[in-house]
C-alpha cells in the first residue's frame, strides 16, 4: 500500500507528498496570513476536543469501591480499638471492635472481588508483589490482615485460644492502620485530578474517617461503661478528618470544585454534618445509651458519606476535561515564568496572533457541535 518500506532496521524510500506543507496547495498559509491584524484574544480558559474528557474515568462502581474504602477503614481502625480495649480490660468493647474488624475486612474483600471485571481471576492479584502498585500492596496487606483479624475475632467471641487470640489481636492492631491508610494511596495514584492532587492530605482524611467509623461502631454497640475510649477516638477522628479535608480542598484550588458541588459535594456536606452530629452526641453517650446509639449511627454514616463523596468527586473531576487541562496549562505557564522564557514558538501566544478569529469545535468556548 505504502511506497515507503518500514522495517525494524529503519525506513526505505519516502512517499511523495509525505513532506507536504499543510495549506500550501491553496496558496494560503495559516501561520502567516493573519499576522498583520492582531486583535488581542482574551486568554482562553481552556480548550477541549468537543468537551470530551481527556482521561478515561474509573470503571469502578458504587457501592463496591466507596463501600470498600469505608469498610477497609472501619476494619483497620477497629483493630486498634479492639486491641486497646483488651489491654485496658473492656471485654465488651473489645468483642464489638474485633467482630467489626473481621466483618469489615471480609465484606471489603468481597466488594473488591465483586468489582473485578473477571472475579474468577481474583487470585491473579497474588501472582506478583509490586510496590509500584498500591492495589498489589493492598491485596497482600488484606491477605495478611483478614485471617489475623479473623483469629482475633473468633477467639474473642468464643473465649477459646486466648494466647493465640492475644497475638492475633496485636498483629491486627499493627496491620490495621496500614489497611486504613493505604486506600488513600490507592485512589491518589491515578490521573484523576481530584484524587491525585489531594495525595498529601488524602491519607489523613482516610485515617480520620476510619477512626470515626470504628469509634461509631464502638459507641453504638458497647455498654456505656466501656465507651470512653471510643468517644475519645470519635473526637480525634472527627477533628482529623475535618481538618485534613479542609486543608486538602483549600490547597488544590479549582480541582476541589467537585468536592463542593454535584453528587460528590452532596455526600461531602452530609458527611460533615453527620460527623458534627455524631461528635456532639458522643459527648452525651456516657449518660444515655440512646445518645450513644445515635452518635454511633451518625459517625458510621458520616464515614461512609465521606468515602462516597470522595469517590463521586473523583469521577466528576475525571469526566470534565477542565480539571485535567486547566491545572496542566497553569503548570506550564508557571514553569515558563520560572525559567524566564517566553512561550516557545508555536505556543499559545504565537498561535493566537496568527489565528485571531478562528472558531470551531476545537476553540475555546465552542466545544461541542457546530
Amino acid at each position: 500500500m505504502s511506497e515507503t518500506e518500514v522495517t525494524r532496521e529503519g525506513q526505505r524510500g519516502i512517499r511523495p507528498g509525505s513532506q507536504a506543507t499543510p495549506g500550501s496547495s491553496v496558496g494560503r498559509r495559516w501561520g502567516r496570513r493573519r499576522r498583520a491584524e492582531q486583535p488581542v484574544v482574551p486568554p482562553a480558559e481552556f480548550t477541549s476536543y468537543y468537551g470530551k474528557p481527556v482521561i478515561n474515568a474509573p470503571v469502578w462502581a458504587a457501592p463496591d469501591i466507596p463501600g470498600y474504602l469505608f469498610l477497609g477503614g472501619l476494619a483497620g481502625a477497629s483493630s486498634l480499638l479492639g486491641a486497646g480495649a483488651q489491654l485496658t480490660g473492656r471485654p465488651s468493647l473489645a468483642r464489638t471492635a474485633k467482630a467489626g474488624a473481621l466483618g469489615g475486612g471480609c465484606l471489603s474483600v468481597a466488594a473488591l472481588i465483586h468489582d473485578l471485571g473477571r472475579p474468577a481471576r481474583f487470585l491473579n492479584m497474588m501472582r506478583v508483589f509490586k510496590v509500584s502498585s498500591p492495589m498489589s500492596v493492598g491485596s497482600w496487606l488484606l491477605g495478611g490482615y483478614v485471617p489475623v483479624a479473623g483469629v482475633a475475632a473468633v477467639s474473642a467471641l468464643t473465649g477459646k485460644l486466648r494466647r493465640t487470640g492475644a497475638a492475633a489481636t496485636a498483629g491486627a492492631a499493627l496491620l490495621g492502620p496500614a489497611v486504613a491508610a493505604y486506600t488513600a494511596v490507592l485512589i491518589s495514584d491515578t490521573a484523576v485530578p481530584a484524587w491525585h492532587d489531594g495525595y498529601p492530605e488524602m491519607p489523613f482524611v482516610f485515617a480520620g474517617s476510619a477512626a470515626t467509623a470504628a469509634a461509631g461502631l464502638g459507641l453504638a454497640a458497647a455498654p456505656p461503661g466501656e465507651i470512653a475510649p471510643a468517644r475519645n477516638l470519635a473526637l480525634f477522628g472527627a477533628g482529623l478528618e475535618l481538618a485534613a479535608s479542609h486543608l486538602m480542598t483549600r490547597r488544590i484550588g479549582m480541582v476541589a470544585e467537585p468536592y463542593h458541588s454535584g453528587r460528590g459535594g452532596m455526600y461531602m456536606k452530609a458527611g460533615e454534618a453527620l460527623t458534627a452530629l455524631g461528635a456532639a452526641c458522643a459527648l452525651a453517650a456516657r449518660r444515655s445509651r440512646a445518645a450513644g446509639a445515635l452518635s454511633g449511627a451518625a459517625l458510621l454514616a458520616a464515614s461512609a458519606a465521606t468515602r462516597w463523596g470522595i469517590f463521586h468527586a473523583g469521577l466528576a473531576s475525571a469526566n470534565d476535561p477542565k480539571y485535567t487541562v486547566v491545572p496542566q496549562r497553569e503548570r506550564l505557564r508557571r514553569r515558563a515564568v520560572l525559567t524566564q522564557r517566553v512561550p516557545p514558538k508555536g505556543g499559545r501566544a504565537d498561535l493566537g496572533a496568527a489565528m485571531p478569529d478562528v472558531t470551531g469545535p476545537g476553540r475555546p468556548g465552542t466545544a461541542g457541535r457546530t
Binding site: Q11, S18, K52, A57, S133
Partner: protein, 279 residues
C-alpha cells in the same frame, strides 16, 4: 536490580530498566498529523489485524469522527477538528490526527497493574496479557492520556499493542502499513525523533508557526512517549493533555504520607485510651 525510584522516574531505555539484558532498539510511532487526510485506514487496519470488536455504530455529530476517542475497542482514533474563521465563509482549517497509545517511558498503567498482566516488551512498548488481566480496572484512571479502557462484555482492559505479534517477525504495525500518506511512521525511536526534528524545522521554515512536537521530549512528565506526534495546534485541541505526568512519579511521597497518617491513627488510638484511663 533497579530501584523503585529509578524504575518510576529514571532516565534511559525502558526495556533496559525493565531488566532486558539484550534487546532490540526501542520502536515507536511518529504520527505527523500535518499530512493526515482523515481516511481512517489506520482505524480499520488495526481492527482487522487485532480482531478488535465493533465500537458502536454511532453518529456523534463531531465532524467525521464517529469513534469518539481511544478505548477498549478503538486502538487508533482519528480526530477531526474544523476551525472556521469567524464571519468568513469557507476556508475551513481541517486538523486531523490519528491518536494511539503513547507507550510511555514511564507508563502509569504498567506501574499500577497488580497482576503483572501489563508488561514492558523487549521493544520498549507496553502490552496487556489478556490471559492474565483480571479486570481490576486500575490501569484505566492511571493513564494520563485516557487510552486504556475496559471492554464491558469481557471485563478486561484492552489497548494498542503496537502490533507486538508483527514486530516480533520484523513487520511494521498494521496502522503504519496501511497509512497512505506516511502520516503514521514506524521505526526505531531515535531515528523517528531525528526525522521529526527535521520535519518540524521544515514546517517552521515554510511558515507553519503552529507546528510543534508532542511527546518527543525524554524529559517530560512521562519520560517521553514511544508514540509521539507533530501537531498543528495546542494538544488539548486534539483531546490530548497539555502537560501529562505519570501519577507514580509521586508514589514514594504518597507512601510516605500514608505511613505518617497510619502512625497518626495509631497515636490517636493510644491517646484515646490514655485519656480514658480510670473512667
Amino acid at each position: 536490580m533497579t530501584s523503585l525510584v529509578d524504575l518510576l522516574t529514571g532516565d534511559g531505555d525502558p526495556a533496559s530498566l525493565a531488566g532486558y539484558a539484550d534487546h532490540p532498539p526501542r520502536m515507536g510511532f511518529f504520527t505527523d498529523t500535518s499530512v493526515c487526510i482523515g481516511c481512517k485506514a489506520c482505524e480499520v487496519a488495526c481492527k482487522e489485524w487485532n480482531h478488535v470488536p465493533e465500537d458502536g455504530l454511532n453518529l456523534t455529530g463531531m465532524s467525521y469522527d464517529n469513534s469518539a476517542g481511544l478505548g477498549a475497542d478503538t486502538w487508533r482514533h482519528v480526530a477531526f477538528i474544523e476551525q472556521k474563521p469567524a464571519g468568513d465563509a469557507g476556508d475551513v482549517r481541517w486538523l486531523m490526527s490519528s491518536d494511539v497509545c503513547k507507550h510511555c517511558t514511564h507508563a502509569a498503567c504498567l506501574d499500577v497493574c497488580p497482576t503483572g498482566a501489563l508488561f514492558r516488551t523487549e521493544f520498549g512498548t507496553v502490552v496487556v496479557q489478556e490471559d492474565v488481566c483480571n479486570g481490576c480496572g486500575y490501569c484505566i484512571p492511571a493513564c494520563p492520556y485516557g487510552v486504556i479502557d475496559q471492554r464491558k462484555e469481557d471485563g478486561r482492559a484492552w489497548k494498542c499493542t503496537m502490533c507486538y505479534d508483527r514486530l516480533g517477525t520484523g513487520m511494521e504495525p498494521a496502522c503504519a502499513k496501511a497509512c497512505p500518506t506516511d502520516s503514521i511512521q514506524f521505526g526505531p525511536l531515535d531515528e523517528l525523533r531525528e526525522r521529526a526534528a527535521g520535519r518540524l524545522a521544515q514546517l517552521h521554515e515554510s511558515g507553519v508557526a503552529g507546528a510543534r512536537l508532542y511527546g518527543e521530549d525524554p524529559h517530560d512528565g512521562v519520560g517521553g512517549d514511544g508514540a509521539f506526534f507533530l501537531l498543528l495546534d495546542e494538544p488539548e485541541v486534539y483531546g490530548l493533555p497539555p502537560d501529562p505526568v505519570v501519577t507514580t512519579r509521586d508514589l514514594p511521597a504518597m507512601w510516605r504520607q500514608a505511613g505518617i497518617a497510619a502512625a497518626t491513627l495509631a497515636a490517636g488510638a493510644i491517646a484515646a485510651f490514655a485519656a480514658a484511663r480510670g473512667r
